[in-house]
């Protein structure tokens, strides 16, 4: 399995070469094109009810797609929905990452992806929803961001404050507390200023240079309101 980012920048794609029999898990809808040797399996992990509840509670896509080179070697082209960067990471078997649900693009078969329920307060205020993905194992992991992706490296006990809607992924060795961005909790709820996460190292935190929610609000002002 080999991954290569095409057209790096705002509108990248990723090309993944698969040997015969290899497969990857991809966000459903991410596939742009593929060799005729690749089969798409939309397996519902955890059965229909599992997939359904995941869909409901996470807003996550109904399933991951499995793209399998079942009829010989081939390649697939994948692209995220939003404009922004793609990064390819190589998981070493010990590092574990938590990924907000829109940040996952694809992962090798040896990479394990599980939905993890957040604490209710983190779910309500963290901005990543009630579920995030816990990704571990060994092999290729491909993330995508809205805007450019930026890596923050934290030494043990080093702290950094991140606006929660800019979070993409973070190491499981970090810990964080949610704090209010404005001067009071009520102000935070009403001003739309949102919440920030105070991360504490060691580990890495990947952030995106654009905030999807704010961008949505900005776009909305140009959409004529129907009567």
């Amino acid at each position: 399995m080999k991954g290569e980012i095409l057209y790096p920048g705002a509108f990248p794609m990723v090309r993944i070469e698969l040997a015969a029999g290899e497969h990857i898990k991809a966000e459903s809808g991410a596939m742009v094109a593929s060799s005729p040797t690749i089969d798409i399996e939309s397996k519902m992990e955890g059965g229909f009810l599992g997939a359904l509840s995941r869909k409901l509670l996470t807003g996550e896509k109904f399933f991951f797609q499995t793209l399998r080179a079942s009829r010989g070697p081939g390649e697939v082209l994948l692209a995220p929905t939003v404009p922004g960067e793609i990064v390819i990471m190589e998981l070493d078997g010990v590092n574990e990452y938590l990924v907000q649900k829109d940040g996952f693009l694809a992962g090798a078969e040896s990479v394990s992806i599980e939905s993890k329920m957040q604490s209710l307060s983190r779910g309500l205020m963290g901005g990543e929803g009630f579920f995030i993905l816990r990704i571990s194992g060994k092999g290729m992991l491909i993330l995508n961001s809205f805007g450019a992706i930026h890596k923050i490296e934290l030494k043990p006990d080093q702290e950094y404050i991140v606006d929660n809607s800019h979070l993409v992924a973070w190491s499981a060795t970090t810990s964080y507390n949610i704090e209010k961005a404005a001067s009071g909790w009520v102000a935070s709820f009403t001003s739309g200023e949102g919440f920030v996460c105070r991360f504490r190292g060691p580990g890495v935190v990947y952030i995106q240079s654009r905030n999807p929610g704010s961008f949505g609000n900005w776009i909305r002002q140009f959409i004529p309101v129907s009567e």
Binding site: L52, D92, S171, A172, T173, Y176
Partner: protein, 379 residues
């Protein structure tokens, strides 16, 4: 023993994501081997007495060991349960104290989280049970949160799918008659959020139906059965009111139950549309409830009245349908009969002030003729 790394080691010279390393717990302390080192496997040793023990990581369930060795400050993160157990067994008793406390805290955090989520699940379950036992209020609350655009999207896809397989009447006397009725009626709807689309379909089915979002289909079979334009207008007024009262959405929300309520409450209305599709909720065979039928009848009657269309047409059409003939089954399959429907409407009409109806501009006999009905006197 496996030679796969089982821990991450942090220190000044290591990458921020940590160096994959292999930790052995021995009688005196730890041996840490850095497996990614290309210059051969380098090891460092720390004795138990040098270590500070903490709990860390996202869920405070990783064992964190810190010490200052000859090579500088070191921090080890262990998450493998076997490793943590091995450390607890080998470490001197006093070291186990902070560890026990950390473990206890993790257990408490997990327990609390489980309690909170059980409570959330309980609330969701209560919602579901509420729906199941007909708490229509909840359905209405949920339906009120769905924007008209989603409703239109939902209705439109079913409407297009349906029409694609039908022979549509595009022009002629029938279509202009139906357009006139639609105009007269919709002009009397204040703050109408819907753009109604009415299509006449060539079919002997004696029926008409309304999809969520304002998509209405009238079959020519129903028009052939009608004795005058007011009867057809009565049916259309009934259908328009199914849309205005959002009856279709209420049925869908009821059928989807918990699923819909949870997704609407969490603000995922798009999810509802795709869910409705994925669950194969057949919009076209959606059967309204008796209460909804009565509501559509009564509000339909009022709409006819405001549009100055003789409301007795609606009543006579329902009477015609309740006579024994093959057409009634089709209508009642999607619009269940409520007892004494025509009588109820009659009583309602009597209570309203006298109306001076404005007739339609078309001649009903000619419309029927264009549909191929012999100009025989209508019984």
């Amino acid at each position: 023993m496996s030679t796969e790394p089982n821990a991450l080691c942090f220190g000044q010279e290591f990458p921020a994501s940590g160096a994959p390393s292999l930790v052995y717990v021995e009688a005196h302390g730890l041996t840490v081997t850095f497996v990614s080192d290309t210059s051969g496997r380098r090891s460092e040793v720390a004795s138990f007495s040098d270590l500070t023990v903490l709990a860390g990581g996202q869920d405070h369930d990783q064992l964190v060991l810190k010490w200052t060795g000859a090579q500088g400050e070191r921090t080890i993160y262990l998450k493998n349960p076997d490793m943590i157990r091995a450390f607890r067994q080998a470490a001197p008793d006093h070291m186990a104290d902070p560890l026990e406390r950390a473990v206890e805290r993790v257990r408490q955090v997990r327990h609390r989280r489980r309690m909170v989520w059980s409570a959330v699940g309980g609330v969701a379950l209560a919602f579901m049970l509420g729906l199941w036992f007909g708490a229509d209020l909840l359905v209405e609350l949920a339906v009120a949160r769905i924007p008209v655009e989603w409703e239109q999207k939902l209705g439109q896809s079913a409407y297009k799918d349906f029409l694609a397989q039908q022979e549509i009447m595009k022009e002629g006397l029938t279509v202009s008659a139906v357009d006139e009725m639609t105009h007269r009626l919709t002009a009397q709807i204040p703050d109408n959020p819907y753009k109604f689309e009415v299509t006449v379909v060539k079919s002997d089915v004696v029926n008409a139906f309304a999809l969520p979002g304002g998509y209405i289909v009238v079959f020519t079979g129903l028009m052939k059965k009608a004795g005058n334009g007011e009867e057809v207008a009565g049916v259309m007024s009934h259908e328009l009111n199914h849309v205005l009262q959002r009856h279709g959405l209420e049925r869908i929300v009821k059928q989807l139950g918990l699923v819909a309520v949870v997704s609407i409450i969490l603000g995922d209305q798009q999810g509802l549309v795709s869910l409705a599709r994925q669950l194969g909720v057949e919009l076209l065979t959606l059967k309204f409830s008796r209460a909804q039928e009565t509501e559509a009848d009564l509000t339909g009657l009022q709409l006819l009245y405001r549009a100055k269309i003789d409301p007795s047409g609606m009543i006579s059409f329902f009477q015609r349908l309740s006579e024994k003939d093959e057409g009634r089954m089709e209508w009642f399959s999607t619009h269940p009969m409520s007892q004494g429907r025509a009588e109820r409407l009659k009583a309602e009409l009597v209570a309203m002030p006298k109306l001076a109806p404005v007739p339609f501009t078309f001649e009903w006999a000619k419309v029927r003729e264009s549909l191929g009905v012999q100009p025989a006197p209508v019984p």
